[in-house]
Symmetry: C2
DNA sequence: TGTTCTGTTCTATACATACTAGAACAGTGC
DNA sequence: GCACTGTTCTAGTATGTATAGAACAGAACA
């Protein structure tokens, strides 16, 4: 199974699929050119409707991470080595980073601890790994 | 005006209020003990329904950042100097950090650039400032 | 005491989103 | 022809968002 979702979570399924694919690309388990399961196949594997998978794939396509066509199916379009991000990405991402870091600081987390947590996450991406606990 | 929201955004209003309060605490514009406007007053200021403000305040209360009662109104309960975060905070926060950083890495952002962006955000919290552009 | 403010808790409605479901179409490869 | 792919419709239910009105209980103040 390439990814798993929690059907009982309050996070929408299509967004969970998006997040898992994004994390898989960051971890290197999916590289540029890697094929993904077809929408119908993944829907069967996850026990959900194929329209939900279609929505997740379309979201990834609009974010520039996936290339979709009838010929080759769903293929990863970018990874960590694909060069600098597209223009409209950085601004929105930094705003979300600001909100997330503010949450930690407001809860009393030290600045150095925040940076250390970021480094730890980035290191886990750089380290090849087949399965996460 | 202590905070502003974008009524045309696709981000729910109650979540925007939550985010702005969290950021204000992180920036030091709101400290432990600082009073917030009453739900009805803030609703009038923002031109929205007071139930929406009530939802945002209740969310902040459940996250441990606000103390609500009839006596003192809405008061900030934690800030950057209130000690280590509560137990159930860290795990969930790190998962969201992982997803957000994965998004940047997958789009081709360099690891050092990510850390630099985090440092920049944290520095902007530490620097006293009345108004952000 | 009476008034006014506060948070809190109900019901109700309109609208958008999330998810499921079925069907059909147009390319592609066998 | 057949089986697969992504794509695009319609349609239904369930949940979430934001609105609105009403009422209650506790606290502050004249």
């Amino acid at each position: 199974m390439i990814l798993s979702v929690d059907l009982t979570s309050d996070v929408p399924i299509y967004q969970q699929i998006r997040d898992r694919v994004v994390e898989a690309i960051a971890e290197g388990r999916l590289a540029e050119g890697s094929p993904l399961p077809s929408t119908r196949q993944l829907a069967v594997d996850l026990g959900i409707n194929f329209h939900t998978v279609n929505k997740a794939y379309d979201l990834l396509r609009r974010q520039g991470l996936l290339r979709l066509n009838r010929k080759s199916g769903a293929v990863v379009r970018r990874d960590a080595g694909s060069g600098p991000p597209e223009a409209d990405f950085t601004g929105d991402w930094q705003a979300r980073l600001r909100t997330l870091l503010a949450e930690a600081v407001a809860h009393g987390v030290d600045g150095d601890t925040v940076v250390a947590a970021c480094r730890e996450v980035l290191a886990s991406f750089a380290t090849p790994q087949e399965q996460r606990p």
